[in-house]
């Protein structure tokens, strides 16, 4: 199976939402494909990391803060446009605990890692290598007996070294 067709299945597999047939398909592919194996490992790790994080406890003074905020809202005139920018910022600050910061950082790190793993590979033609091998065959002092590319007959680099065998078997 091609790696492209497997992307959705990988995520579902990491969530254990695949059918037994789909699971077998993923496992067979991942056994041979290192890139998809890594993707699956990253997905599994991120899910594991998120699951292992305990739910943040509510601040102790949450009740009191909410009551005060409600009283302030009541006291404010109906024309008022709501809390000021400073008030909203402080409310955000109190809501964002260091745990949330860690989760955001981890997610960003995993995203960068996934991009790095999946960035496109540059193709190197096999023909470049085969031409170099052929050139070497022609240049090697004793190995120069192959036919030159495009030539009609055998060419020897060092004709003095070539000795014909009679090639007759009984």
């Amino acid at each position: 199976m091609e790696c492209k067709g497997l992307e959705e299945l990988l995520s579902a597999y990491a969530d254990r939402e695949t059918t037994p047939a789909e699971s077998a398909q993923v496992e067979a592919h991942v056994a041979d494909c290192r890139a998809c194996g890594l993707r699956l490992a990253v997905l599994a790790k991120s899910k594991q990391a998120l699951a292992s994080m305990a739910a943040p406890a509510a601040p102790r003074d949450l009740k009191e803060t909410l009551r005060r905020a409600a009283a302030r809202a009541e006291a404010a005139s109906p024309e008022s446009s709501g809390p000021s920018f400073g008030q909203r910022l402080s409310a955000w600050r109190s809501a964002l605990s260091p745990r949330y910061g860690f989760a955001f950082g981890l997610a960003a790190f995993l995203l960068v890692g996934l991009w790095f793993e999946r960035r496109p590979e540059e193709a190197v033609p096999l023909d470049v290598m085969l031409s170099a091998h052929r050139q070497y065959t022609l240049e090697r002092p004793l190995g120069g007996s192959a036919t030159r590319p495009g030539a009609s007959g055998p060419v020897s680099e060092d004709a003095g070294n070539d000795l014909e065998d009679d090639e007759t078997d009984e």
Binding site: E121, A123, L126, A132, L142, S145, N161, D169
Partner: protein
């Protein structure tokens, strides 16, 4: 008519019968030898790869693809506890030595007269995988093979199980179990490499000094499989990634050099190996490169390190595989068993 007029009891008649009987003996024995019961194919392969128990000497010709043959003089003796001691000398048309490889079974010594280089290293042992291992690559069948170098042979056909890989044909001396002729055959039927004895004699006594390293004044000394640490670090600096080298190559093969092939903004490492007649290339692509095989036929194979593929050019087999982020490609006119053994030794 004369025969009919003779009496069956006459002396001439009996003498004629005896002469006819004596004359027919060589023909009948030759026919009987030809009709000898076929031995087990894998047993013959095992024996052939181990080499004969007697010392021998012969003239051996190697031909790559449609090229001309290279002549060499081969002398071998069984070496106690070390396998086989052998010396092979490639010669020019005047009988002058061009390239020598010698092993005492433990160490191998190689000399190239043209470049005045000497290589030394541990002996690689048998060139082919043991028979049991070869049978995992090939379907092995045996038939009568006619005569090679005047000796009766069994012909072993090693057909690759993967279908597209290079296969082999071996003609094995029936009595001594020496491989007298060896062909590497590409899937399209072309012969990539052919080696054969034109003459061979057994029981020849060899001077043990033939199989030991010789002092060659002024020759530079090189490692058999890897370049010097200086060359290695230079290649690493220029390519941007660490070169890898095989830890096993068939007997006689030495590192000829390491090149860097520029491709776009990257460099491909090309390690060149040769045994004086056959050349072998190991390519290493830079990290995060994908091999573009073009329209080439290929078949998947399984190596110890993971999946790979085999393909072929007009005169060589191609084996490709991945190791970490690097793609490696081996090109040589050798059978799949040898290519795979080399690939699995790359560190």
């Amino acid at each position: 008519m004369i025969w009919k007029t003779m009496k069956p009891t006459s002396r001439t008649y009996r003498a004629g019968l005896a002469a006819a009987f004596l004359l027919s003996v060589p023909w009948v024995s030759a026919w009987a030898a030809g009709k000898q019961a076929l031995p087990e194919a894998l047993a013959v392969l095992e024996d052939a790869l181990r080499g004969p128990a007697a010392s021998y000497e012969g003239t051996f010709f190697v031909r790559i693809g449609r090229g001309k043959s290279r002549k060499s003089l081969v002398r071998c003796s069984p070496a106690p506890e070390k396998g086989l001691a052998c010396r092979r000398e490639f010669m020019d048309s005047k009988g002058g030595v061009l390239f020598v490889s010698a092993t005492d079974g433990a160490k191998e010594w190689i000399f190239d007269r043209k470049t005045n280089k000497v290589w030394e290293g541990p002996s690689p042992g048998n060139s082919s995988a043991p028979g049991a291992q070869a049978s995992s690559f090939y379907r092995v069948s045996l038939s009568t093979g006619g005569k090679v170098a005047g000796r009766l042979t069994w012909k072993l056909e090693l057909s690759p199980k993967s279908g597209a890989a290079p296969g082999r044909r071996l003609w094995v001396d029936r009595e001594r179990r020496l491989v007298l002729k060896d062909e590497t055959v590409l899937p399209d039927g072309r012969i990539a490499l052919r080696g054969r004895f034109s003459r061979v004699s057994f029981g020849v006594r060899h001077d043990p000094a033939l199989f030991r390293p010789e002092a060659v004044p002024g020759a530079s000394r090189e490692g058999r499989l890897e370049p010097s640490p200086t060359v290695r670090s230079k290649v690493q600096a220029e390519s941007g990634f660490g070169p890898r080298f095989p830890s096993w190559l068939p007997s006689g093969f030495v590192l000829d050099g390491v090149d860097l092939i520029p491709y776009k903004d990257k460099k491909i490492i090309h390690c060149r190996y040769s045994d004086g007649a056959v050349v072998l290339s190991l390519f290493q692509s830079p990290p995060r490169a994908k091999l573009d095989l073009g329209a080439k036929d290929r078949k998947e194979v399984r190596l110890a390190s993971g999946p790979g593929f085999v393909s072929w050019t007009e005169d060589a087999g191609v084996l490709g595989w991945s190791s970490g982020e690097t793609k490696l490609v081996l090109v040589a006119p050798l059978g799949l068993d040898i290519l795979q053994r080399i690939a699995e030794s790359v560190r």
